[in-house]
């Protein structure tokens, strides 16, 4: 898995590339925690290039999501598709995660609280 960060105004978009599994999901968690330390307030996690996620990946997303919620900051997860979407549906987390369609949708949603 490979993580790239880009910026759109005050919003930081994390592009996740590759599989999110037991052996690398912690990287995303660590990155977000580091960004929180740096007082980043708006996050978008772009899952466009993630075709596989296992329960550790879901775990990482839950962790990130709940931490950000607790701090009253904003998060959007976008471009979930295929088996990733199936796993999130199966674990009944579609309502738990703040989900948006595309990056553009996410940017729009995140800007309007």
């Amino acid at each position: 898995m490979d993580l790239k960060i880009r910026k759109h105004g005050e919003t930081y978009i994390i592009d996740v590339n590759g599989e999110m599994d037991l052996y690398n999901s912690y990287k995303l968690k660590e990155l977000v925690m580091k960004m929180l330390e740096k007082k980043v307030e708006r996050f978008i996690i772009n899952m466009e290039n993630v075709d596989y996620i296992d329960s550790s990946g879901i775990g990482a997303l839950i962790y990130i999501c709940s931490t950000i919620k607790k701090m009253n900051l904003r998060l959007m997860i976008c471009n979930i598709h295929g088996s990733v979407k199936k796993v999130i549906e199966l674990t009944k987390l579609m309502g738990y995660f703040p989900i948006a369609g595309t990056v553009e949708d996410a940017i729009q949603k995140i800007a309007t609280p």
Binding site: K34, S55, S56, I58, G59, A60, I62, Y63, K92, Y96
Partner: protein
């Protein structure tokens, strides 16, 4: 004695022979080093002298030859000077004056010109040499590359050559260049000065070679030392900061710089941050006026101010992935501020990017603050080698750390597998009116799956299937917690499956790291009224095979996984089972088992096997399912744990 022989003796045969011999030895000496431009010009010089001697030997009375020689010698000295200081061109008047000297020389044997016309050669050459002497004496160490050798040899050269012309001029009434005194003494003596000058050059070339060799050896030595030490540093302490400290210290030491620094790229802020500083390293950019220019304040400011990637020379180095070498900051507008202010004075600077793969992760910079010590291209290439090797080392450091982490994880998984082995029921309870079978296969040593079958009270049984996210000890501990809570509360009177899930969730949420969530499905079955109650926390729905109609039903309830939110409430559904009905609880690993083509086993395949073999007792049905699944996946390696529990109502 024949006139011919006399004329030879009169024509200074011996002096000529001697000087020719000297020249031949001289030629031979340079012969081996002709590839060096300056030395090949000295070789040409010797050829000019020899050619003149030869020409005069056969045509002793033509004074154009000495004049020609004089011009040739001067021309070659212009070239020798030009090799060290680029603007030295042979001036145009040289050619014009030369022509003036040569024309009377060529014509004098034909036309009977007065004797004083012979003064044209020495006079013109005297003027030309004076001009050249002025040029030679303007050489200083600041404007000329190899000034030392030119300055050491110029005095004798100028004296000898000017002296020769003066003597020839004075002796014009006795034949000028052709007078026996000039031919026998002045020319051979004056020409010795070329050998003399050459000896300076030879020594200089030799020294230069040795200097290069020494520098190269020193460079190699320091690099070698660097490699060994950094290797040791890594094997002792796997700390990035220590490695960077060491890198900057070595770089500063290796090229005798005044200060050095490593900047690291901060990925999500697009800035560079100062990571390690050695010696005296002033900020190589404009410092706001409000920063008091005291060394301490300046250092604080420098350490605490991130540099945007699109600003300053450091940012430029990181953005372009190119090393930057500024020999003299006065020549570069990017460093104007550092060339002027004493507090942040930098005389010379080198910046090189540190790469991880194709990505720049930092910049290594070294400065000289001494105006009389400017970095050379050699220093630049040495720092580049340092940076390359540092990048390489840090790459392997990262890889090694990852490997260690993975090993650690695998070790943990081994311990967890042991804990887990004791969690699953060692034998299934034997009860009348139902038959049970269970299967659980971990994918990699340890399972994230857990199932349980508990006799909660007479006539009632509880089945649980659970899938904990992640592996290793933390996941196993969550499993232990879930199991403990279920075992503790399941027996309580008035307990229902949804209530058990509420309590399990309440007990787990907030206690464990949020990424250790679990999906759990629970069911109870009452043998007396044949009632099945089911509650689901985000697990796969329950599969029920109805024997009477040979159809499948699924049972599912809402609810997010266990462990996310403390206040989650779970709901439950119930149904009545009939003889020969089969209930199946399973985890992802079963229906998502994949073959080589990437096709999943699927719920449909599972249902199909159960439908065909519904008459079998659960234990045999279990084996049939496993066989069917295995023949589907073939040799493909499974990444997820596989667990299922079968319960069949006896009929």
């Amino acid at each position: 004695m024949p006139d011919f022989i006399l004329s030879i003796i009169n024509n200074s045969f011996w002096a000529k022979g001697l000087s020719a011999l000297v020249l031949l030895v001289y030629l031979r000496k340079i012969g081996s080093q002709a590839e060096i431009p300056v030395l090949s010009d000295f070789r040409r010089l010797a050829l000019v002298l020899l050619a003149t001697d030869l020409a005069l030997f056969f045509l002793p009375f033509v004074w154009v030859f000495p004049a020609l020689q004089g011009l040739g010698v001067l021309y070659l000295h212009y070239r020798i000077l030009g090799a060290s200081s680029p603007p030295t061109k042979v001036p145009v008047f040289f050619w014009i004056a030369g022509l003036c000297a040569l024309v009377p020389g060529i014509l004098s044997p034909i036309l009977a010109w007065p004797v004083w016309v012979g003064a044209a050669g020495p006079a013109v050459l005297l003027l030309l040499w004076i001009q050249f002497a002025i040029r030679l004496y303007s050489v200083s160490e600041f404007n000329t590359e190899r000034s030392s050798v030119i300055m050491a040899s110029r005095r004798s050269l100028v004296q000898a050559m000017i002296g020769l012309q003066v003597v020839a001029l004075v002796l014009v009434p006795w034949g000028g260049y052709l007078s026996p005194f000039v031919q026998m003494l002045a020319f051979p003596l004056a020409n010795l000065v070329h050998s003399w000058t050459l000896s300076f050059w030879e020594r200089f070339v030799e020294d230069e070679k040795n200097r290069q060799l020494v520098t190269m050896e020193k460079n190699l030595g320091s690099l070698f030392e660097f490699m060994i030490t950094i290797g040791n540093a890594i094997s002792e302490k796997l700390e990035m900061d220590k490695v960077l400290d060491f890198v900057v210290r070595s770089a500063v030491k290796a090229i005798n710089a005044d200060g050095g620094a490593v900047f690291l790229v901060d990925e999500f802020e697009d800035v560079l941050k100062v990571k390690a500083v050695e010696g005296d390293f002033p900020p190589p950019y404009q410092v706001p006026a409000k920063v008091k220019l005291r060394i301490k304040d300046l250092a604080n400011y420098f350490q605490s101010t991130p540099i945007p990637l699109d600003k300053t020379i450091v940012g430029e180095c990181a953005m372009t992935h190119q090393g930057i070498y500024i020999r003299d900051t006065r020549d570069d507008p990017r460093m104007a501020q550092n060339a002027q202010l004493d507090q942040i004075y930098i005389a010379s600077i080198i910046l090189v990017p540190l790469m991880q793969g194709k990505k720049v992760f930092g910049v290594l910079a070294v400065v000289s603050r001494r105006g009389n010590f400017l970095f050379t291209a050699d220093h630049f290439s040495q720092i580049r080698t340092f940076a390359d090797y540092t990048s390489l080392t840090i790459n392997s450091l990262f890889t090694y750390l990852q490997l260690l982490e993975k090993q650690e994880m695998e070790k943990e998984v081994g311990i967890a597998a042991e804990i887990q082995g004791q969690l699953l029921p060692s034998s299934l309870p034997r009860v009348s009116s139902i038959s049970l079978a269970a299967f659980s296969l971990p994918a990699k040593g340890v399972s994230g799956d857990y199932y349980d079958i508990i006799n909660i009270r007479k006539g009632q049984i509880l089945l649980a299937v659970c899938d904990v996210a992640g592996k290793g000890i933390p996941a196993s501990l969550v499993m232990v917690m879930i199991r403990t809570i279920i075992h503790l509360v399941a027996h309580q009177p008035g307990m229902s499956v949804s209530r058990i899930l509420d309590i399990v969730n309440w007990g787990i949420a907030g206690k464990v790291s949020l990424d250790r969530f679990a999906t759990v499905a629970l069911l109870t079955y009452d043998f007396v009224n044949h009632r099945l109650e089911y509650s689901n926390a985000a697990h796969h729905p329950l599969l029920i095979f109805r024997a009477a109609s040979k159809t499948f039903e699924t049972l599912d309830t809402e609810g997010i996984p266990i462990g996310l939110e403390k206040k989650t409430k779970y709901s439950q559904l119930h149904t009545v089972l009939h003889p020969a009905d089969i209930v199946v609880l399973y985890t992802d690993g079963i229906i998502e088992a994949m073959n080589d083509q990437g096709t999943q086993y699927s719920l449909e395949s599972l249902q199909q096997v159960i439908l065909v073999h519904c008459e079998l007792p659960p234990e045999k049905l279990k084996r049939t399912i496993i066989e069917n699944m295995n023949s589907f996946v073939g040799k493909a390696k499974q990444h997820d744990d596989q667990t299922f529990v079968l319960m069949k109502i006896d009929g």
